[in-house]
Structures are given as C-alpha cells and as structure tokens.
Amino acid sequence: MSANKESWGSRVGLILAMAGNAVGLGNFLRFPVQAVQNGGGAFIIPYLVCFLVMGIPLLWIEWSMGRFGGRFGNHSTPYIVDTMGKHRLWKYIGVFGIWTNIAVAAYYCYLESWTLSYVFHSILGTFNGLDQEGVASFFDTYVSIGDSTLGIPYEAVVFYLLCLLLNTWILSKGLSGGVERVAKIGMPLLIVFGMFLAYKGFTIKAGEAGASFDSAVGLNFLWTPDYTQLWSPTVWLAAAGQIFFTLSVGMGTIHCYASYVRSKDDIALNAMSAGWMNEFVEVVLGASILIPISIGYLGIDRVTELVQQGGLGLAFKTLPFLFTQWGEVLGAIAGVMWFGLLFFAGITSSLAMGTPWIGFLQDEFNWRRKPAAWSFGLIVLILGMPTVLFFHYGVFDEYDYWAGTVSLVVFALVETILFAWVFGMDRGWREINSGADIKVPDIYKYIIKFVTPVLLLWVFIGSLVTPKGGDWGKALSGDWVLDDSSIINKIKNSSLKRQLAEATDPAVIEQLQETLFFVNASRILLISVFLGIAALVYMAYKKRVREGRI
C-alpha cells in the first residue's frame, strides 16, 4: 500500500503552485529575446495560436492523465502512463517524467542559486561603482569556482548548496505544508516585483538617470510587427517552442500535481486559470522589463548584439549595471526585486521538479516524504555538481539541451498520442470534462486528436533536422544542410569538431578537446541516470507482481 497520503490545501493554492511550476526564468529571459528575434509584435500571433492549439490541449491532457493515474494511487508518470496504455513498455516511456525533472533540477538549481546570490550582492551594493564591463566580468568571476566575490571560498558552490538545501527542506514539508505555501507567498510577490519593474520599464526618459532613450524606443523595437515574418516556418517553430517550454509541459510535473486531485473535482478550469496566469507573467510582465530597460540605456544596436547570446547575459551581466544608474537605494531595491522575482520564478519550478521522484518512492517503495525528499536532494547534488564545477566546459548547456529541451518534446509527443489514440479520445474527453466547472469547447476534441500531435511532430522533426540558418525554403528546394543546432548535428558534435579542425592555437585546441570530453561525459551520465530510473521502475513492477497489485 502506498505511503502517499498527500493533499493540496486549497484550490487557489493548487492553481498558484501549478502556475508557479510553469512560470520560470524563461518567462522573463527567453520570451522577450524570442520575440525580438522572430518578428517583434508579429511573433505574438503564432505564439497565441500555438498556445490555443498546442499549449491548452497539452495542459488538459496532462491534468487529465495525472488525475486519472492518481485515482489508482499513482503519482508519477511511469505508472500514470501505465494505467492508460496496456503495453508493458509504456511505464518505461514514463521514466521521462522523472528523469527530466532530476536532470533539469540539477542545473536549474545552479541558475536559481545565481539569483539568490545576486539578491545578496544587490543588498550589499557590490555593483555600485562598477562599469558595464565590471558587472559582466563579475559574473564570469562568479562562475569561475576558484575565485570569490564575497570573501566566501567556493562562493558559487556554497550558494548552490544553500539553494538545494532550501529546495529539499521545503519539499520535505510536503505538498500543502511546503510546495503550496511557497507558491502562495512566491507568486504574489513575483507579480508585485514584476509590476514595479514593468512600471520602471515603461517610464524611462532619455536624459534622466543616465538613460539614452525613452521607453518607447525599446517597446517599439519589441512590439512593432513585421508581418512578413509570419510566413517563416522558423518563426512558427520558435513560437511553438516557446509555448512548450513556458508551460512546463512534457516534464511530468503537471501530472504529478494533478494526481492529488479527485475525479469529481475540476481540472478544466484549473488548467485554464494556471495557464493564463503564466501567460500574464510572460507576455505582460516579461515583455515589459528586460528589453525596454536595456534599450533605454544601451540602445537598439548594442541590445541586438547582446540578445544573440540569450537572455541570461542581459539579466546577469547588464541589468545590475543599469539598476545602479537609478541611484544606490533605488538600484538596490530594483536589484533585489529583479533577482528576487527570478528566484521565486525559479524555486516554484524547481520544487515541482522534486515531486515526481518523491511520489514515485512513496507509491512504489513506501518511503516516507522526508527521506524521499532528501534522496532527491542528494541525487540532484551528485548530478548537479558537474554543472557547477565544469560550467565553462558546456556541461550546463548539455543538460539543458537534452533534458530541458529534447526530452520535453519527445515525452509530450508520445503522451499526446497515448491520450488521444491509445487511451482513446472518447475516454479522454470524458476525463477532461469530469467535474469541470467550465464547458470545454467541443472543437478541442478534434484539436487534441489531430492538430496537437501533428504540431508536436512538426516541432520534433523541425528540431531533429533544422536546416542551416533556419532557411526552410532552401532546404525544401533540395539543398538541405543541417544546422549545428539540429538534434542530429548535436549528437555528432558537429560544431565542436569543426571548431577543433579550424583551431590553430594549442591552448584553444586543448580547451575544445576538454569541452568535447565533458560534453560526452555529461551524456553518459544522463543516460546512466535514465537507465537507473528505468531499473527502479522494473523493480517496482516486480514488487507489484509479488504483492498481487498487477
């Protein structure tokens, strides 16, 4: 019998926890960069279309699957999936729903620890008096483990451990006493901090506090629609990808949270409420901070250059410097709010990542909550330390690519096929509507069955064989050269091998060879973890057979 007697405290708490799971650093750092790179204001059209035909269906699918599995005492994807499909291999597909979370938590906690550390540095005034290069090099020093910026030896490691301990401790307090309580505090604070910074983003005036441009310049840059981009498959692929990652679908966390909901209680309205809350944070708050503030001080050309390196650079290497332009006190407040907001966005997501593993141990091996939570902390620590120690060798990026990107698409595609075609759309539709507090439009029965799987297949194939420079026109006309970002070229390490072939400096060659070693070692480690979880699922299966549960 399962030791799992967890419950949610309240419906609002569940929705905030589910929204917190979805809201992550990507809402503030990835979305605005994607919008700028893919047609500005016109990006919102494919983005919202993808939300309607892929995001919402996936939310309903995952909430329904979770609640259905929970009815049979299953709170993690291996056996949630197993209850829906008769074939014995389904439970091994469900391993993705635990593995992804452990692997993502391993590097995500490191990212989260940066935000925690930067909150302290903002309070201490570390960035006061530094120029932009100084703030940028501060970050590089911080992630170089041997150097300390605060006088604490191995500072980055210390903050990582602190962050991981905090996550594990909260998880050990249970669903309503830990996860939900943090969501109830973190989400409102995140929105308040976001609104304050968005207000600042909207009110920058050229010539005031060192700003060179009005907010309008940045907002124009972000929102002016370039409708010609709407015909580009790359833009649609980017929009679909953004919807995918922002909602935290394909991870197994939504299934886990929803598995504690009884079948007579609503999931349809809950899913919509949490989903639109995430959209509010992303589109309204996320779009109003990073780009308008950066452009107000640095101008379009410099920001265009910086966004090529992604949102992380702008968030950690640029914004702390810009905040100091507002004066010591307001700069410190803005720094605390910005990194505090990112911290709450991060921790509400990383807590969700711990729950599938804990649920699995409770259900299958009768573990109590506390030891299960600490075992999660220990595994994440072992798997996460390489991302901390070998950050400069691409370990962090490797985890992010395989666990935080590819795995999500694969699992979401398979679970959609399972839900709509194996479990059956009629049964699936009854599950979505059971106890619903809203009328789900009938058209979604067809969208879930046909449109969502096709769209997911397209996202997967688009990622597998991405043409060079995203030039689909050229690729479809017969000249299909794979881009280095395609899954196939990633597997082959094409980019690294080409850089190695072109390098002449012995130091660069040595660095690249070491990077290649760490990249391959990361993959072996990730595969080992996957196989280890699959072995546990097999042991759980044998235990179920022995106990007559199957």
Binding site: W8, G40, S176, A216, L219, L222, K264, W276, G435
Partner: protein, 52 residues
C-alpha cells in the same frame, strides 16, 4: 510609440490580462463541491459537508 506597435502591445496585454482575471474569477466563484474533495483547508466548512 508607433501606432502599430501600440495597437499590438495594448491588444495583447489587455486580452491576456482580461482572460487571466476572467478564469481566476471563475475559480473563486465556482460553487463549492461536497466533501470529501481534494483540498484540506475546507474539510470543516459547513457548506461543503455532504448531506446524509
């Protein structure tokens, strides 16, 4: 701001904020379901006790 950027920005923000508020309000105003339900905090709420 130029007109097209302003229209797209305000249209999107109003739509997303409106829908977020609408669905959250629907949650808050949803009729209570009888116990036992999925949530602990309302276990002793008299309105939610199942009628014998």
């Amino acid at each position: 701001m130029n007109t097209s950027a302003l229209v797209v920005m305000l249209g999107t923000m109003l739509l997303v904020t409106g829908l977020m508020i609408y669905f959250f309000t629907r949650v808050l105003n949803a009729p209570p379901k009888p116990e036992p339900d999925s949530y602990l905090d309302n276990d002793d709420d008299p309105d939610r006790q199942a009628t014998p």
